[in-house]
Amino acid sequence: MPTKAIDPPGITWLRVSPKYVTVRLVEWAIGNVIAVAVLSLPLILVLQGWWTWPPLWLAVTVPSLMLILAVWRLVLIPRQVRAIGYAERDDDLLIRGGIFFQRVMVVPYGRMQYVDIGVGPLERWLGLCTLKLHTASAGTNAQIPGLPESEGARLREQLSARGEARLAGL
């Protein structure tokens, strides 16, 4: 996309593992294939002549709209994953994400209350993990998905150490 990104200038972003695309693909498949299949059910029933109520055009439109949306999301996944980035600066951590709805977040090390690492079954199989930062604010929804396990562990240690060094009150 030729539009200008919202990121602050002069930052080299670290990107998450490309394998995270697989995780997102599986999540996409679980969500969307089921949704499309369920929405296609009336179409089949109408075609078989068992149902009369939903007119054919409606029975075709709804699942096909869903299908188009699903395919659109599917196409976006690799770019969405590529858009996720984080950067460790001297005093804070930057996290960015999103293509259409972009978000750049800064979390000062001194404000971090604790750091979580979560691993789902699929992530474990791929050797990935998700890092979550918590501050005193519930609005801080800072997480970095799709980190390689070693990088996640390194980041966690790094963040904890830096947080301790710069710990501030509330």
Partner: protein, 527 residues
């Protein structure tokens, strides 16, 4: 009554209230559990009472045989309840020592809780009506967990509660007990009344609230309906609604009545309440974010409401208890708002504070140094684009928004938790972005709406640097110790007395321009 058991063991910090395990007032379980006792009494007494009124015999013939059993059962239940109360009372003990407040509760399931005194976010003394009749008060000690109170002591005698509050605040502020006279009670910090809300203005504000507009519209609508349909019966359905409204108005009136604010070295004191009274103390620097709000009708009289985010109070909204606790000023004039702002933000960080804040509250365009939504994006906010804006002083970020529902949000730099820039596809077309500041949960949600993308990005960077510099200046949670640390050149205050409590008060005029900032505060601002 007082368990002086391990008073001697806590030799580290002597003092009368220190180190000793104390109990709450013996009457407190009855004051708290009076509803249970009343229910038992009602349950067993109702029949007898009714028969007495009807002139019948005290005990029905039918019941005569069973009466002793019923009485015995009632007595047992009553005894059990009272026994439970006494046990709860006996096993609830508290202690203030060595920088901690500790509370032990429960006799079957025991709980021991301790909270660090210098982590206090707010300390409240609450007096429900019944407790007030008995001269008792509940003390609530809030830490930053955004939920229930960390420590609730219900009930203490009013004087004891105030004494305990003074002790806790003095310890939290970093005042050490005097080793020469350890038994001397801590003096309550002197306070100076700042403003009060007259009842007439409170009533006026309630009558002119948005709620009243809906009441009026509803009334007009129902009259119209009844005229059109010729059916008057459905007014009956409005009775519950009217009752609910009356209750809501009453609650607001009860909570906001006699609102007074005072300042003391321990922080801001707020007192209010008609039947149930409450006294809040917010130590300096505990306010995470603040907003000045004016609904359109209030503009006729120039009234404003102020709300704050305090870490311990959490996000309880609405008209309830949390709503009143997060209210810094239920209704006030512009002068009142300025006074409160000067208390919350003693150093506004700009030489022209009165003008900047007034413009933030009432102004539009670039008055007072505000940077507004660029004109090219006015389609996104056709009414509010002249209002939406920000200005950063040395100490706080001011976010202005709203054309009709005017709002000014103030976030001190050292209270910024984290930040995020948001931009959706439409905002990108207009080259604008939103900046969201994350603060602890509460009624204030700081968000800069539709700022120029480049400016938002620059502000994002600068704000991160400012917050960093402000955090470095803030060294200690103990606010008096912090004052001492910030002025190392000056003569250090005597460690065992309150350092001249009246002196900082005198200099705290309403947003009086301060002397230029000390060089130590000119941290790296342009990172």
């Amino acid at each position: 009554m007082k368990a002086a058991g391990d008073a001697g063991a806590a030799g580290v910090s002597p003092g009368n209230a220190d180190g000793e395990w104390l109990r709450v007032h013996p009457a407190s379980p009855f004051v708290r559990g009076w509803i249970a006792i009343a229910a038992i009494g009602y349950f067993f007494g109702r029949d007898i009472f009714e028969r007495l009124i009807q002139g019948g015999p005290l005990i029905d013939d039918r019941m005569a045989g069973r009466a002793p059993w019923l009485l015995a059962a009632g007595g047992v239940i009553l005894m059990l309840a009272i026994f439970g109360f006494i046990m709860t009372w006996y096993f609830t003990r508290y202690q203030v020592a060595e920088g901690y407040v500790r509370v032990k509760t429960g006799f079957l399931f025991r709980q021991q809780r301790q909270a660090r005194l210098d982590r206090v976010q707010a300390i409240d003394i609450v007096q429900p009506l019944l407790a007030r009749i008995f001269g008792l008060a509940e003390l609530r000690f809030e830490v930053a967990d955004a939920g229930e109170s960390a420590v609730r002591l219900a009930f203490l005698r009013m004087d004891d509660a105030r004494q305990l509050r003074a002790t806790i605040l003095a310890r939290a502020a970093g005042v050490q007990a005097d080793p020469e006279s350890p038994d001397a009670a801590v003096q309550e910090a002197p306070e100076q009344a700042v403003l009060s809300v007259p009842p007439s203005r409170l009533v006026g504000s309630l009558l002119l609230s948005e709620q009243s507009v809906f009441v009026l519209l509803g009334a007009v609508g129902s009259v119209l309906l009844s005229v059109l349909t010729g059916n008057g019966g459905f007014f009956l359905y409005l009775i519950p609604a009217a009752l609910g409204l009356a209750a809501a108005y009453w609650s607001s009136f009860n909570k906001g009545y006699n609102f007074t604010a005072a300042i003391s070295p321990d922080g801001i004191r707020l007192r209010y309440g008609l039947l149930d009274t409450q006294a809040q103390t917010l130590p300096p620097g505990r306010i995470q974010a603040l907003r000045v709000f004016q609904p359109p009708i209030w503009r006729i009289f120039g009234w404003y409401r102020m709300q704050v985010n305090v870490a311990g109070y959490g996000a309880v909204g609405g008209n309830g208890e949390g709503g009143s606790r997060t209210t810094l000023l239920p209704v006030g004039t512009l002068a009142d708002v300025m006074t409160m702002l000067s208390l919350v933000l003693p150093d506004p960080g700009t030489p022209d504070a009165a003008r900047v804040f007034t413009m933030g509250i009432n102004g539009s365009n670039n008055d007072g140094g505000f940077v507004t939504t660029p004109a090219r994006a006015r389609l996104l906010a056709p009414l509010a684009w002249r209002r939406n804006g920000y200005v950063a002083t040395e100490t706080a970020l001011l976010l202005r928004s709203g054309r009709w529902w005017r709002q000014l949000v103030v976030v001190p730099h050292q209270r910024t938790q984290s930040m995020a820039l948001h931009q959706g596809p439409i905002a990108r077309r207009f080259g604008v972005a939103d900046l969201v500041l994350h603060t602890t949960s509460g009624p204030v949600v700081p968000r800069l709406i539709q700022a120029d993308a480049d400016e938002a990005r620059a502000l994002f960077q600068e704000q991160a640097a400012r917050a960093r510099a402000a955090r470095k200046r803030q060294t200690s949670e103990q606010w008096l110790a912090q004052v001492a640390a910030e002025t190392p050149a000056a003569e250090p205050p005597a460690p065992n007395e309150f350092p001249a409590p009246n002196e900082p008060l005198a200099s705290r005029g309403p947003l009086a321009p301060r002397e230029p900032l000390a060089p130590s505060q000119d941290g790296p601002q342009n990172g």
